[in-house]
Symmetry: C2
């Protein structure tokens, strides 16, 4: 796979790749994103140059610009990785017409596992002041779509349990808080923690009795989409 | 009050204050912290100079250094504001020997109200990569003390309800997630939201029946410590 990218770059810049592949990813684009994810989350966005990212991948800065024209574009692509797979999963899940409780539980378990099992804690970028200035409109639109999907499900459930509507945003926030637990949770425990957070999303809305059945349903739905996940929750 | 500070500065630096007071606070130290809180949370820590903070207060940089020798010292003082009052409140609360459920509910309501009603969203600073390099050992030690206090209470409650121990860190994380809800919650609704998050802390641990009594107990405990809070939850 890499051979193709390498020859493409040679054609464009007249220079071959500087070093052997250093990063996971099946394309140069993925390698660049991995390096940017590491540097943005460990050194900060303002302190990271595109030159430093290119060096961390082992390519020239000119080659990086072939994939991402600006640092904002790179940041935007990384942030989309934290939301787009979950929105795609949700659209697929809704085809199966689950109950609101089941839909929220399965959504939270998938979303939480996405956040917790990524190589870098990309969700930690959400609160960076620099994000307000970066051109990230499409990311914020997608993230708001996801938040509203949680909110719609939560409100239906609150209507049935009678818990105050002020709790409606808490399931989304509980999943988001996994960003703060990321560094403290050992890798093998992360998918299991996502399952417990899914339970907690229902509990804060006043659902208590149906949790074992909801968990079984979530394993079923996740298994249909990604068999590798079943054993991990 | 300001007159005293002004004359002290005149004595030390030989220069009077440049402008009228621009910031809330009864001391110059509080005004400086307010300006730093605004600039760190809106522009970022790395992008804010001590010169910019001094300008935002209307004092000279040399006067600022009289109160805070480094930018790290300023950041540390701001972060302590998010934890120290809650630890003081908890020590006082424990004197009244409340049940673990009551103690957790009241702690979460106080802590949440502290985070939500501050003028700047200081909790948003927690995830900044720059924080790892700043000299903030005493802040992290205090914050870990607070987290462990939540954890101890949560574990006792989980022992009674039979919910899995994986949920033990969620009450602390729920309160922390108010940082993400800060900008979206109108000021008048913030203290009420803190009360609902306190309920949610108990719900995620499997407590459902005693919430009205716990809420009444929390109003009692908060009222004893700060009568102004009672009407706001």
């Amino acid at each position: 796979m890499w051979a193709n990218i390498g020859s493409m770059e040679t054609t464009r810049s007249g220079r071959p790749r500087l070093t052997e592949q250093r990063r996971p990813g099946t394309t140069a684009r993925e390698e660049i994103l991995d390096a940017a994810g590491e540097l943005f989350t460990t050194r900060g966005y303002a302190s990271t140059s595109t030159r430093a990212i290119a060096e961390a991948v082992g390519i020239r800065q000119a080659s990086l610009y072939h994939y991402f024209k600006t640092k904002d574009e790179l940041l935007s692509a990384l942030l989309h990785q934290t939301v787009t797979p979950t929105l795609t999963f949700l659209a697929d899940l809704q085809q199966a017409d689950p109950s609101p409780e089941q839909c929220l539980h399965t959504l939270a378990a998938f979303d939480g596992a996405q956040l917790l099992t990524s190589r870098w804690n990309l969700g930690a970028l959400y609160l960076m002041p620099e994000l307000r200035e970066a051109r990230l409109a499409t990311f914020w639109t997608e993230r708001e779509r996801l938040r509203l999907a949680y909110l719609d499900l939560s409100r239906i459930i609150l209507g049935a349990t009678g818990v105050a509507d002020d709790a409606a945003d808490l399931p989304f926030r509980l999943v988001e808080s996994l960003v703060n637990m990321w560094s403290r949770t050992p890798q093998p425990d992360r998918a299991r923690l996502a399952g417990h957070v899914a339970d907690a999303c229902l509990r804060v809305l006043g659902v208590t009795d149906d949790l074992p059945a909801l968990r079984a349903g979530t394993l079923h739905h996740l298994g249909r989409n990604d068999p590798a996940r079943v054993g991990r929750l």
